[in-house]
């Protein structure tokens, strides 16, 4: 019983860590290019994008943990790391694509269009690379993957809301409208997070 509670504790501990203290966007800028493009894209739902990314992260974590460990034991060096992990992402993506094709989920068309954008993202690959370089256990990896995905959703919602308000503001100088003010806004939010947690990026 104690072991189960300990595992659950570790899982949620790492999820919370990835959600706030090591938020993918605010502390590591993972997936920020896609986030910036997403805020200007009216055809793509930010929430669906975030949810798909989160599902991909959770499904990917155990597969990447196992195959990453196997690649390490087989002696594949740092040069093969992206190939191994992009291969893992490909397997997860294809499975998700198949499920979406076979089921009749609402907004299926949009989900199929968003899936590659959400999965082929530096937040997804970055998270599995962090779990690998920091030698996380399986529980820690899945918890960190879930937290990272939820953290991305949180960042997407915060930035999308800000973009809506900032784009209507006449007080912002014209040169700062659009991407510049969005980057400054993300920077200020990141500073606020450092206020709570301090900051050291573990590469």
């Amino acid at each position: 019983m104690n072991e189960v509670m300990e595992t659950v504790g570790i899982f949620f501990g790492y999820a919370v860590l990835a959600l706030f203290a090591q938020n993918a966007i605010f502390t590591r800028a993972l997936g920020v290019s896609r986030l910036v493009q997403l805020t200007g894209d009216n055809r793509t739902s930010s929430l669906l994008f975030g949810v798909l990314l989160c599902v991909t992260q959770v499904l990917l974590a155990p597969l990447a943990w196992y195959l990453g460990g196997l690649a390490g034991r087989l002696g594949l060096g740092a040069s093969a790391r992206p190939l191994v992990y992009v291969g893992c992402i490909a397997l997860v993506c294809l499975a998700e694509h198949l499920v979406l094709q076979l089921t009749n989920l609402p907004r299926k068309d949009q989900l199929l269009r968003i899936l590659p954008l959400a999965a082929l993202n530096s937040c997804v690959l970055g998270t599995v690379l962090i779990t690998r370089t920091q030698a996380f256990t399986l529980t820690q990896s899945v918890g960190f993957g879930l937290g990272s995905g939820l953290g991305y959703i949180l960042a997407v919602m915060l930035v999308t809301e800000a973009q809506t308000r900032l784009s209507n503001s006449q007080t912002i100088p014209s040169a700062f409208r659009g991407l510049p003010i969005l980057l400054i806004y993300i920077g200020i939010l990141a500073l606020a997070i450092y206020g709570f947690t301090g900051h050291t990026v573990i590469l």
Binding site: Q37, G87, L112, R113, A119, A190
Partner: protein, 240 residues
């Protein structure tokens, strides 16, 4: 300015500006691509140089390889949603896997040139394989290989320029040095070395860049208009 260029600027301004990936349509400053390594790692001239070399070795070859491999799955200009649903994921995977394959050859070269310094790039070096800067073409209309080569080189030049600019400015502000050489007696803005400082500084640089681009575009249009008018005047004088 030549007459043909002047007419091109006046009749198809978007097409003209789209081609200029170094300044007018820089991939970072105008489209927000390649931000992650720039914000977190371009904190010094040396880091920026390593990233620029890595991007230079990866970007064009992977784009060319992906362009050739994705030929059987082209996206057309007026393709419907079926085309997107069935091809987008596979095209995306081709682009990412192509970059990962090119990375296999590039990594030993970088390791040979930069040695253990390469470790300072951490996860951001392998992350280049899924950066929108390298793979954004998967969601666009299929391009011919020659165009992929030329555009890849232009995009690389634009990205490398911004990397070096941001790296040097951040090093100067955060440590008072440029490429390790003392340039100021004090560090005016230590926060520039942190990702938060990177976001804020990049936002400010981006605003300045965009303002300059706007001025330059206005200047080009005025120049083109004057050129066309002057040529019409000359022709009228000749006929008269």
């Amino acid at each position: 300015m030549k007459q043909s260029k002047a007419e091109w600027i006046l009749t198809k301004p978007d097409q003209f500006t789209h081609r200029h990936r170094i300044f007018i349509n820089n991939p970072v400053m105008m489209q927000g691509m390649g931000l992650a390594p720039l914000v977190v790692l371009a904190t010094s001239g040396k880091n920026a140089l390593m990233l620029a070399v890595a991007a230079a070795l990866l970007l064009t070859p992977s784009r060319l390889l992906a362009c050739l491999l994705s030929k059987p799955l082209p996206l057309s200009e007026h393709g419907g949603s079926d085309e997107l649903e069935n091809r987008l994921l596979f095209r995306g995977l081709i682009y990412c896997l192509s970059a990962a394959v090119v990375y296999l050859a590039v990594y030993p070269l970088l390791e040979g040139w930069f040695g253990t310094d390469l470790l300072t790039l951490g996860i951001y070096l392998p992350l280049l394989t899924v950066e929108p800067l390298l793979i954004y073409r998967f969601g666009r209309v299929q391009e011919p290989p020659r165009k992929a080569l030329v555009k890849g080189l232009r995009t690389t030049a634009g990205y490398a320029l911004v990397l070096l600019l941001v790296g040097c400015v951040r090093e100067l502000l955060a440590y008072g040095t440029v490429f390790g050489f003392q340039a100021a007696d004090f560090a005016p803005l230590p926060v520039a070395a942190l990702p938060a400082g990177g976001f804020i500084l990049l936002g400010v640089l981006c605003a300045v860049w965009r303002a300059l681009v706007r001025k330059y575009k206005d200047f080009l249009v005025a120049e083109a208009r004057n050129q066309v008018l002057a040529n019409h005047q000359k022709e009228a004088n000749r006929e008269g």
